[in-house]
Symmetry: C2
């Protein structure tokens, strides 16, 4: 049967983003109970030149919506990147998972050899569909979700690997 | 064409483990230049009840060899989990990638619906091949590799996301 491009992208992205959302809910509750300003967690980083929690969430969602749009031959929706509270970050994740859930498998399937061009400010990078998904998008999404998890864990939020894995 | 179970597992595991190995090489070099006892980095954690760097590397490799062995219907090789230096951790990764590289695609392909049983000390968990790979093994491997990265980054080792992604 093999794994379709849809199976390897949309359901996994939605699962992992929902898990991230539940982790942020726990972080918000932790801040409230411990009387911590939520902005302290949202702006926290593992090192001064790393991105803060908010940006990790933004980039994880950008990778998910960008990948699915590009594999389907569409332009990814642009978000303003102005989330500053837990509820705004959770709303961004929800907006992203709603967008992902709107794709039908036939829009994504068959994109294994599709040419995908990523445009950056001063450059562009060209990928082939399958390695773009397996070796660029998935590691990137996991990188930013696990880093978000690590930032919160490092700050004492009581979460565990099962929150990250969800009900797989 | 679709993605085979082999394509979604072995080459990705080898790529990410090689990247982790290169990151550990940079960490070892950093410790030498900065005159830091390497054991400080190897035993570092992001929070007191999280695993240290060494255990993150051990679990990442365990997930990779365990997955490929189980999908092929073999018993995973057992390692002693006694690595205490950067060179020992790097050797463990090398031993794992050598093991992975010994599998032929036909040993892994077709395992999408294979029943996989994970045995823990007091329990077991049963998976179906494809979700086992996509939603259990891959997130677990990324979780431990990114956490290893985060521990080193938090300790000032000069690495960036491109070290994690490698030459994808």
């Amino acid at each position: 049967m093999k794994i379709s491009m849809y199976q390897a992208s949309v359901p996994t992205f939605i699962l992992m983003l929902n898990n991230l959302s539940a982790i942020l809910e726990k972080a918000a509750a932790h801040a409230e109970v411990k009387k911590i300003d939520p902005a302290v967690l949202i702006n926290s980083r593992l090192y001064p030149d790393m991105y803060p929690l908010s940006r990790q969430v933004q980039i994880a969602t950008d990778n998910a919506k960008g990948c699915v749009a590009r594999l389907a031959g569409l332009d990814p929706p642009k978000y303003e990147d102005n989330e500053a509270t837990f509820s705004e970050l959770i709303a961004r994740i929800r907006k992203t998972t709603d967008y992902l859930a709107g794709f039908r498998p036939e829009q994504i399937d068959g994109s294994e050899e599709k040419t995908v061009v990523l445009k950056f400010r001063d450059s562009s990078r060209t990928f082939v569909g399958m390695p773009y998904l397996l070796n660029y998008v998935l590691p990137n999404i996991y990188f930013h979700i696990v880093t978000a998890y690590g930032i919160l864990r490092h700050n004492g939020v009581e979460i565990g690997k099962n929150d990250f894995l969800g009900k797989a």
